[in-house]
Symmetry: C2
Subunit: 201 residues, 2 copies
């Protein structure tokens, strides 16, 4: 681990904060997560690159008791209690209508909006780039000193109906955010070995 650290420009404390000691939390304290904190996180991670600067990630910040109840009803059984108790929960959605913004966010390629409008690959491009941005977002939540609890176990059709009706958006994850509470995580699970991941040709 020392060797690895020496090869990185990022200082060891930041490495720990973002990756090494950071953990997916399943329990949180009561400390609120404010709109200002969420804004600070997004102001940082918005700079992460996406294909054609497409930025298809959209967020529904679920705050009101009524909205939270609607969301919890759509969560898988094992995710209900922790989602009901989290200080803040985000629905992370991929916006297949991202191309409408291209004339502003990607002006360097004329006709990009119209080419994407006609492309059957647009929803898949939205999902892929939203997932890349979700990676940045999880790092950003940790950069704020908070713990993220990303979850894939929810009724996507129900979330679409209850939160995203009338849009081109599709939920790809639900993420709890807060300070980790007592017994917030299980033992760390093993990672694949380097040679199981990387092949050099």
């Amino acid at each position: 681990m020392t060797t690895a650290t020496d090869l990185l420009a990022l200082d060891a404390a930041a490495q720990d904060l973002l990756f090494r000691t950071a953990r997916t939390a399943n329990a949180f304290t009561d400390e609120p997560v404010t709109d200002e904190q969420l804004r600070a996180i997004l102001e940082l991670v918005k700079w992460g690159p996406t294909a054609m600067n497409s930025q298809p990630l959209r967020i529904i910040a679920v705050r009101s008791p009524e909205a939270r109840e609607r969301l919890v009803a759509n969560m898988a059984e094992g995710n209900k209690a922790k989602t009901a108790a989290a200080p803040l929960t985000l629905i992370v959605a991929a916006d297949a209508a991202f191309h409408e913004h291209l004339p502003v966010v990607f002006p360097i390629k004329e006709g990009a909006r119209d080419a994407l409008e006609a492309s059957p690959g647009r929803p898949a491009m939205a999902r892929l780039n939203t997932a890349i941005q979700l990676g940045y977002l999880i790092v950003g939540i940790r950069a704020a000193g908070l713990a993220a609890g990303p979850m894939g176990g929810f009724d996507a059709a129900g979330v679409k109906r209850d939160f995203l009706a009338g849009t081109d958006q599709e939920a790809i994850a639900v993420v709890n955010i807060g300070r980790p509470g007592p017994d917030a995580w299980h033992d760390r699970l093993p990672r694949l070995e380097h040679d199981q991941v990387v092949t050099t040709v």
Copy 2:
């Protein structure tokens, strides 16, 4: 920007290194990117979370002149020259056979491998989680003081044929890595406004 920084635990220099001053590079110096650097990057970002600890991201590190030539032939016209000139290029692939590792990496859910084996959603789950890991990887490349040049413009079928034949892997991106060279990037493109991304309910 000062306000934002104050709300984050990550120090400002690290914020700049990873997000604010970091840029997608289109030109690189001749300085090599070593296997040890790549290993250090992956040893850091491997800790980022994935659904069911699935870790479907696989990397083909394209080093030999022959392999590089094969890859360049599959790149879109505008990506050929920079890929040919980059110190190191990675093919980032999603492994739909990730479930074979679940008995080791996700032992807490018995039967997970078999349930996924039978699931038609497995390739989509692989793509989604690989893209999340690609987000971590881009952050990790920057953490090493290097610039990343992720690209979606390539012949995916050709890359499959030439690099991933006989596997369940599918390329989702190609990423150049190196120190940024002269005129490595264009002007920064605009990001969406906060209210275009976030809705609070």
